[in-house]
Symmetry: C2
Subunit: 464 residues, 2 copies
Amino acid sequence: MPFLPDLCDLLGEHGVLTSPEDRAPYERDWRGLSNHPAMAVAFPKTASQVSDIVKLCVAQSIAIVPQGGNTSLVAGGVPIAGTPQLILSFNRMNTIRSLDLAADCIIAEAGVPLAAVQNAAADAGRLFPISFAADGSAQVGGAISTNAGGVQVLSYGNMRAQVLGLEVVLADGSIWHGLNALPKDNTGYDLKHLFIGAEGTLGLITAACLRLHPAPRAIATALVGTGSTENAMTLFQSVRRLAGPALTLCEFMTAEAIALGGTAPLKAPAYLLLEISALEEDAAPQALIERVLEKALEDGTALDAVIAQSARERESLMALRENIPEGELHAGGAVKHDISVPLSRMADMVAATQTLIAQNHPGCRLNIFGHLGDGNLHINIRPPEGRRLADLNKPAITDAIESLAVSLGGSFSAEHGIGQFRLSGMAAHKSPEALALMRRLKTAFDPACLFNPGKTIPPESNHD
Amino acid sequence: MPFLPDLCDLLGEHGVLTSPEDRAPYERDWRGLSNHPAMAVAFPKTASQVSDIVKLCVAQSIAIVPQGGNTSLVAGGVPIAGTPQLILSFNRMNTIRSLDLAADCIIAEAGVPLAAVQNAAADAGRLFPISFAADGSAQVGGAISTNAGGVQVLSYGNMRAQVLGLEVVLADGSIWHGLNALPKDNTGYDLKHLFIGAEGTLGLITAACLRLHPAPRAIATALVGTGSTENAMTLFQSVRRLAGPALTLCEFMTAEAIALGGTAPLKAPAYLLLEISALEEDAAPQALIERVLEKALEDGTALDAVIAQSARERESLMALRENIPEGELHAGGAVKHDISVPLSRMADMVAATQTLIAQNHPGCRLNIFGHLGDGNLHINIRPPEGRRLADLNKPAITDAIESLAVSLGGSFSAEHGIGQFRLSGMAAHKSPEALALMRRLKTAFDPACLFNPGKTIPPESNHD
């Protein structure tokens, strides 16, 4: 049967891209590390068109690669080699279907950019808290499928915590209408959690009902210099104990990391960027942060601190953190990692990493920064002065860092997911029981293996 | 093969109860509405003993009914009729394995009572927030398997939100060691969510790693009288907008409901019990609640209000809410429901219920109370003055109330789960797609259907 003509009949001439030039930007991941051809790129406008596409692909055994903003750091939304695939882009499913302020929720289609959800919430006096570097391009469906995190997870939780309900097209083309807006619903298995973080391998998310939060009316931001990771953890614990969920940001940066983001207004071996939010205009988060820092400076857990006195000062402090990835790129790039460990092992993780690199990869430079309060660090290894990234033994370094995190009870992928690039970690670090359960789920939900092949689950091996 | 001797060999004489008298309290649910025989009651002490029991039962096709504190309101932890079953009690798996204050988490075995977790947290200056009437008997495993809720879900989330990791015995007897303590871990499907709320039908939870929260140091409690459900909702929204997660309690009671709990210090058609918590001793949640109530009294959303001035006053206000279920029982009982609707439909739900009962069940008395901030109401129907509960057409009333909630985009079981008693609601209200997905999960995880038979999933029917 002629697949492409049938597809064009379904979506119209402008709903399908087939030429190599047109397909190119959808076939490569944004870092350009994965690039394999697809038969075409399809742009459905409705869930029922997605359903029709799935039925068409099932009939002809063509795999489907769901793609949102294509900002995955692990090539989770692009084709793999050696199997006929259709890229299903959600770019044209970009409608905000409803906004219910009394219920504090919004229903957005999979292709709505996260920034558009943030803006719709802000216009209504609410906050949608999932925020990260790529949120201008990253889309709702992709962010849910990867359970995206970012800088505000500490207080508001990750993407999973924002999802009240989902609409999902299943592997037989049927549609599960699970778009409920209920914080509490104990009627059988909570199916939405199966699709959140599944990277499109179990079903195709076409729309979501997302939580909105009250918008903060006052924010206090401080950059604190500390003598060690231990001191940074102690400081975090004491702020958290006083501020609880009002502590909306707690980012860690080593001196080497912050230097890549700009010039800090104070000098220290390690830094914390803290933000305390308040819902009342007349509340004084500033007073709280001042009280905490005063004590920390007295007892030595803090060496020095700067509190932003204006919006501009706040932005310049935030920029020091936000500019690190770009600064790292300009400095020649790094072998990147996204690990998490229990909060009680954070200092051990940093110390052990420094020892490991000094011993096994002498001269390599460490760029350690990330979401301290979540136990999530980005531990990036830069080549020695004057050497190139290509000179490094990336697989050896990555295996060492990831194994270290796992040995401390941690994870080798805290927020970026698995996609194609972390499959080796899955094979190396996940238990046979966990892999067996994942394969059982995959078989139960996508028996023909047509949804996003080659992602999330490593190939069977004797190690399992 | 001789099952019981093998079981005794495994657990020792004192690890198995077989006589009808000994089995009796485990075979009936605590409301005495379900009572069917089991072959025996087994009391394993370790996950590996649970694993051995599963293998023994698989070999002889004997079903396993996992049981915690046996406080289910839907008979989720007791046997059904007509199939050989073993009750697996977690009463002897009651060890708190570890408490990690730096990581703010606790690892508790399935049989630890919730109250013991609350106490361990409190002794360490932390809060474990899951709290409900039965939490002295209810156990960790059961509370996770039913995704228990209670009065503090509004701020802290339900049981699901407290679970960082699980240890689960699977249907082939293998053990999934998923006891991690990581707020962020995106390494493949998040398996723990499959077992949370699954009522023991997919796996047997033997231990959990649970989140701890900073303990509040100041609490302000107020009872507010309002003229209508609309006004109660308006008041809730305005407090929430100012207090956010500091609003740790928002319970709704109609005048009829509160009268069953005691004598209110003020008179109104409807009541809100509000609690605002603060982490700092010198913080003044009282000032915030006073400011909000002042405004509400001015604009008429509140008719009258009492703010507790002492611990005793606070307890007496809380008692008005806590005593409602017992008061209802003493007054002759009711047909009970546990519905939720989107917050924007709460007022509609209450009004429509009043109309429905007045029209179709004249004389019946309504007892409406519950977790307003979660959109979760307990709508209980009492017989007319002088009539008995047995005189009511329970199935007709329940179908009407549940259908009403579902028609407003709500749920027919918000926090109590399905067990045996809500299976009719599953058959009536869940979509064919949802039921098909649930059956696929059950088949994938428990192909022989030996885990908690007759719960959660309704029997196949033509309606599916």
